[in-house]
C-alpha cells in the first residue's frame, strides 16, 4: 500500500531532470510556439480596417460554430510574382553570402585553430569583439565606408586606383558585404570549435603514408570538419534569408529580400494577414535546411 503511494507520488512530483528540461521547454512554448500560433491564425484571416486589422477565424452564428479559413493570402503570394521573386532572391542572397562566409571563414578558423594558445585567444577575441557593438550601428558604419565620398572610395581615389568613386552603397554588392561582415563570426566559431578538436597525429599519419600536405587537408581535415561546415552554413544561411536590416540600410531599390517585403506588408500596407502568410512560408523554407542541419548534428554526436 505504502509502496504504491510512493510510486504515485514519484510520478506526480517532478524530478530534477524534468525540471531542468521544463525551463527551456516552457520558454519555447511561451515565446516561440504561442506567437507562431498567432501568426498562423492571422495568416488565415482576412484584412479589415479595424483594430486588430484582421477578421476572427471563428464565429458563433445561431448556436453553430463557424470556422472560416481564408486561403486567399497564400494564393495571393503564389499569384503575385513579387513574393516568389523575393523568396528566390532571398535564398540566393543567403546562399551566396553563406558560400562567401565559408570561403573567408574556413581559412580564418583553420589559422586560429593552428595558432599558439596565447595568440589563439586574442584572435578569437578579435572575431567576437565587434559583436559587442550593436548590430545596427555596425551596419550604419558601413554606409560611411561604402558611400560615394566614403572612406573606401576616398582611399581608392587617394591611391589612384580609381578616377571616380565606385557606386557600392545601395547596390546588391553592399548587401553581400553587409551580410558577409555581419555573419562571418557565426561561420568562424563553429568551424573553429570543430577544427580545434582535430588530432594532429592524423595528419602526421597521412603524411607518413605518402600523402602530401595539401592532399591530407582534402582527404582528412576537410571531411572531418564537415559537421562544422554544415553548422556554420546553417547559422549564416538561416538568419540571412530573413535578413531585413542590411538590405534596408545598404541595399537599393533593386534589392529584393523577403525580410524587406515582410516589413513593408506589416508597416506600410498594414496587411497583417498577407504579412503573416509571408512569414509562415519563410519559416517553411527555413525548416528544410534546419532539418538537414539536425540530421548532420545527430550524425556527428553518434
Amino acid at each position: 500500500m505504502r509502496a504504491k503511494l510512493e510510486n504515485t507520488l514519484k510520478k506526480i512530483i517532478p524530478r530534477g531532470r524534468s525540471i531542468v528540461i521544463a525551463i527551456p521547454f516552457a520558454w519555447m512554448i511561451l515565446f516561440f510556439l504561442i506567437p507562431f500560433a498567432f501568426v498562423l491564425k492571422i495568416s488565415f484571416a482576412e484584412l479589415q480596417l479595424a483594430i486588430p486589422p484582421f477578421t476572427a477565424l471563428t464565429k458563433l452564428i445561431e448556436e453553430s460554430l463557424h470556422i472560416k479559413l481564408n486561403l486567399g493570402n497564400y494564393l495571393f503570394l503564389l499569384q503575385d510574382p513579387l513574393y516568389i521573386n523575393a523568396y528566390i532572391s532571398s535564398v540566393k542572397f543567403a546562399f551566396v553570402s553563406t558560400m562567401l562566409c565559408l570561403l573567408i571563414g574556413y581559412p580564418m578558423a583553420y589559422a586560429i585553430s593552428k595558432s599558439s594558445p596565447n595568440i589563439r585567444n586574442i584572435l578569437l577575441m578579435l572575431i567576437v569583439l565587434p559583436s559587442w557593438t550593436e548590430f545596427l550601428i555596425r551596419i550604419y558604419a558601413w554606409i560611411g565606408i561604402l558611400k560615394n565620398n566614403g572612406i573606401l572610395n576616398n582611399f581608392l581615389l587617394w591611391l589612384g586606383v580609381i578616377d571616380e568613386p565606385l557606386v557600392i552603397l545601395n547596390t546588391n554588392i553592399a548587401v553581400y558585404i553587409g551580410i558577409v561582415y555581419g555573419y562571418l563570426p557565426f561561420m568562424i566559431l563553429p568551424l573553429y570549435t570543430n577544427l580545434t578538436k582535430h588530432d594532429d597525429t592524423l595528419l602526421e599519419a597521412a603524411y607518413d603514408l605518402g600523402c602530401p600536405p595539401w592532399k591530407s587537408f582534402l582527404t582528412i581535415t576537410l571531411p572531418l570538419s564537415f559537421a562544422g561546415i554544415v553548422a556554420g552554413c546553417m547559422l549564416v544561411f538561416i538568419p540571412a534569408v530573413g535578413e531585413f536590416v542590411i538590405p534596408e540600410l545598404l541595399g537599393g531599390s533593386e534589392t529584393l529580400m523577403i525580410g524587406k517585403v515582410l516589413w513593408q506588408e506589416f508597416f506600410n500596407n498594414r496587411d497583417w494577414p498577407v504579412a503573416s502568410a509571408v512569414a509562415i512560408i519563410m519559416l517553411i523554407i527555413l525548416a528544410v535546411p534546419l532539418a538537414i542541419f539536425h540530421h548532420f548534428q545527430a550524425k556527428e554526436t553518434l
Binding site: 597525429t201 597521412a206 603514408l209 600536405p213
Partner: protein, 376 residues
C-alpha cells in the same frame, strides 16, 4: 647536387647497415631532446629505443620518419641521405602511439589509404588490403569504423595500414602502450611473428623494458637525449655499462666500494657495507683506490643457511621481508651496516620450513662472474 659517385660510395659502405644515424641532434628552444646520437641498424633487425618519458626516444623516431627536422646530423636509410626529404616521400612508415586511425574511414579504407597515395591500381589495392587484413586477423572487421574497434583491434589495423605499404623501415611508437597487460604480452609475440613473416626492419620506442626485451634483437638505452648503451637484451641486462642502465633495466643491488687489488682475472673490492671483500670479474679498466659500485642482480645472489666458504663474495644479514611469487621468492635482507640487499631464489623445495623465514640470520653469496663493476 650531391655527386653520384659520393652517393654510390655511401651505398656500398652501408650495405649492411640499413639505417644509419650520424651525430643527430635536436634542440627545442633550450632543451636538447636528442644529443649527438650515433646509431646503426641492420636489415631485418627489430631494434628498441628504451628510456623513460622525455628521454628523447620519440623525438629520435620522429626524426627518422621526417616529422621533426634535425637541428644537426644526418639520417641515412638504405644508404640514402634523408636530409630534407619530407615524410610523405620517405620509405618509412610509422605506427603512432594513439594509432591515428582515420575516424571517417572504415578499416578497409584506412588500410587502402597509403596504397592510394602511391597510385596503385584499384584491383591490386583490393588484393593487398585483404591479404594484409588476413595477416593481422582483421578480415571480419573490414567494414567497421575505428570507433567500433577495441584497442587490440585498432592496433592491428594501424599495423596493417603500414605493413600494406611494405615499407623498408617500420617505426613503432610505443606500440603496446594503449593495451592492457594481458593483451600486451600476447600482441608482443604476435607482432614479432608478423614482422619476421614480412621481413621488415623495425625500430620501436618503448618505456617498458620487458617489452623491449621480448621483442627486440638489440636495445638502445636512452637518457636525457643520449644513447647510453646499445646491445642485445642479454648484454644490456648482464653487462650494464653504468648505474643508470643497471637500475633502469630490471632490479639491481648496487654495492659501493673501493678497488683494493687487481689480479689477472678479478678485482678485489673493499666494500663499505660488510667486512668481507668482494671479488668481481675484471671488466673494463679500473685502478687501485678507485671508487666503484658493483651491480648484482637479485637472481644471481644465492640465499643459504650455511656459512659459505672463503672470505670473499658473501655477506650475513637478517631477512626483513619475503615476497612469495610462486615460482620464486624475493628476499629483502638487512645487513648489519644497514644496507638492504634484494635476493631472488627459485622455490625448488615445496615446504616453507626448508626455506629461510622472517627475521632469520642468513648468508648471501655470489660468484665473481655474477657482479659487474661500474666505474661511472
Amino acid at each position: 647536387m650531391i655527386g653520384n659517385t659520393e652517393k654510390s660510395e655511401v651505398k656500398v659502405d652501408e650495405q649492411k647497415n640499413y639505417v644509419e644515424v650520424k651525430k643527430l641532434t635536436k634542440k627545442f628552444d633550450t632543451i636538447i631532446a636528442v644529443n649527438d646520437v650515433d646509431l646503426t641498424i641492420k636489415k631485418g633487425e627489430i631494434f628498441a629505443l628504451l628510456g623513460s618519458s622525455g628521454c628523447g626516444k620519440s623525438t629520435l623516431l620522429r626524426m627518422l620518419a621526417g616529422l621533426e627536422t634535425p637541428t644537426s646530423g644526418h639520417v641515412f636509410i638504405d644508404g640514402k641521405e634523408m636530409g630534407s626529404i619530407p615524410p610523405f616521400k620517405r620509405p618509412v612508415n610509422m605506427m603512432f602511439q594513439s594509432y591515428a586511425l582515420f575516424p571517417h574511414m572504415t578499416v578497409e579504407q584506412n588500410v587502402a589509404f597509403g596504397l592510394k597515395q602511391d597510385k596503385v591500381p584499384k584491383n591490386q589495392i583490393r588484393d593487398k588490403v585483404s591479404e594484409v587484413l588476413k595477416l593481422v586477423e582483421m578480415s571480419p572487421y573490414a567494414k567497421r569504423k575505428s570507433h567500433q574497434l577495441s584497442g587490440g583491434q585498432m592496433q592491428r589495423v594501424a599495423l596493417a595500414r603500414i605493413l600494406v605499404k611494405s615499407p623498408k623501415l617500420l617505426l613503432l611508437d610505443e606500440p603496446m602502450a594503449a593495451l592492457d597487460k594481458k593483451l600486451r604480452t600476447q600482441m608482443q609475440i604476435e607482432l614479432v611473428d608478423i614482422l619476421e613473416k614480412v621481413g621488415a626492419t623495425c625500430i620501436m620506442v618503448t618505456h617498458d623494458q620487458e617489452e623491449a626485451m621480448t621483442m627486440a634483437c638489440r636495445i638502445a638505452v636512452m637518457d636525457q637525449g643520449y644513447i647510453i648503451q646499445i646491445g642485445p637484451p642479454s648484454e644490456v641486462y648482464e653487462f650494464p655499462n653504468c648505474r643508470f642502465c643497471a637500475e633502469f633495466i630490471g632490479s639491481v643491488n648496487l654495492i659501493e666500494g673501493k678497488v683494493k687489488d687487481i689480479n689477472a682475472e678479478t678485482v678485489l673490492i673493499e666494500s663499505s657495507i660488510h667486512e668481507n671483500n668482494l671479488e668481481i670479474a675484471k671488466t673494463g679498466d679500473c685502478t687501485i683506490g678507485m671508487e666503484v659500485s658493483v651491480a648484482l642482480r637479485p637472481e644471481k645472489i644465492s640465499v643459504s643457511r650455511d656459512k659459505p666458504e672463503g672470505s670473499v663474495n658473501w655477506v650475513k644479514g637478517k631477512v626483513e621481508d619475503i615476497i612469495y611469487l610462486g615460482g620464486s621468492s624475493t628476499y629483502y635482507v638487512r645487513l648489519p651496516s644497514g644496507k638492504k640487499i634484494i635476493a631472488m631464489q627459485a622455490n625448488l623445495k615445496r615446504t616453507i620450513h626448508e626455506r629461510p623465514t622472517w627475521e632469520e640470520e642468513i648468508y648471501l653469496s655470489w660468484l665473481s662472474q655474477s657482479g659487474v663493476i661500474l666505474t661511472s
